[in-house]
Symmetry: C2
Subunit: 191 residues, 2 copies
DNA sequence: TGTACATCAGTGAACGCGCGTTCACTGATGTAC
DNA sequence: TGTACATCAGTGAACGCGCGTTCACTGATGTAC
């Protein structure tokens, strides 16, 4: 049943995509490899033709999620500049749609506390992904290359990640709304 | 080997305390009941004399952690008022000591993404615990009872949780420091 | 206050189950001539 | 271009292991008289 190189590469992508969604919606530890392979339309035995270990899949799935988040942010920014660009990013990140769909959203919010205990490779990728997002935000702040803008962007991103995480933790819809709204109020118009 | 009521209550507390620390340092899913019981100086078989299920322990362990966090914050505030009180809370929360000791720190930062998938009881307790912390912060803001102060406190807390989480995720010490510092800069002197 | 008995905290073995990982096998793909 | 053979993607059974949970048992504690 050997497959063509093109098909094989396609299958691999499908596995990473399925893992990326499952890890974000159910957590890394709670998601089994059999579940991932099943979601990719395969049986679990074939996993090791594509990856060395679950850890490797975690790293690649995280990378997949972070690339997809950056693309989304670029899309919502479009041609907007300055405050309008920041506002678009903030509105999009703190939207109900994002809160209610962790599987396709920011991996820092959905796997944050698990990432802190991940292996070195994954944490390294997480650091680089975080910095790329910081850069994508600071670019739209006044004096975008400055240390102050970078610090501001770091804070905006951390704050949004915390707010989205907590908006998912609380079970009171009004409180969840209040968390998102307070973060929007404070982040959409940075100093 | 029946134990006195006092001893039994003491044992139960020890189990909850051990669970509280382990869940925060290794994650809920990654911590087994045998590990918890072992840390409490017992064998795993006795667990169900004290709790109905792991879920119940999770809820109680979370509660234990959140009470302990409130006590810590009360302690660092002491007699301080207004800005000084807020600054003390922020400095304490975003300290290296807190970042490097998740087992005794804020449960929202260490288990945030897992709490979002916890059962109803735990999420209900998480909501109440979050609100109590919000109240403990807003009390020190100008016009502390107002909706604006509450919103401000919600934002401060969410932002600090996000910053601490991310400071633990990244593997670059300088970036981790930058995350904590940017959050301190923005939170210590609220508008 | 002392005795007899019921209660139950804790132990350690066992339960079924799902985990990550390995492996023999199949058969289509890729390659060497 | 055609043939022969090596490669390897995917299957499904199996591995040892740790999980949450249950249970028979022990013996000190609590209680009823």
């Amino acid at each position: 049943m050997r497959k063509s190189k093109a098909k094989t590469a396609e299958t691999r992508k499908r596995i990473v995509g399925a893992a990326s969604a499952l890890f974000r919606s159910e957590g890394i530890h709670a998601t089994g490899l059999a579940e991932v392979m099943n979601a990719a339309g395969l049986t679990h035995g074939g996993f090791y033709r594509h990856f060395d270990s679950k850890d490797q899949l975690v790293a690649e799935a995280f990378d997949d999620a972070s690339v997809s988040l950056r693309r989304t942010l670029e899309k919502v920014v479009g041609n907007k500049k300055g405050k309008a660009a920041i506002a678009a990013i903030v509105e999009n990140y703190l939207a109900f749609k994002h809160r209610d769909n962790p599987a396709s959203g920011c991996a820092f919010s959905s796997m944050g506390s698990e990432l802190g205990r991940a292996n070195n490779k994954t944490r390294g990728e997480a650091s680089r992904a975080f910095l790329k997002l910081v850069e994508a935000i600071s670019r739209h702040l006044p004096d975008g290359e400055s240390a102050a803008a970078k610090s501001e962007a770091i804070f905006l991103l951390s704050a949004m990640i915390g707010a989205l995480t907590m908006a998912r933790v609380v079970d009171d819809p009004k409180l969840s709304l209040a968390i998102l709204r307070s973060a929007k109020d404070h982040c959409a118009a940075p100093r």
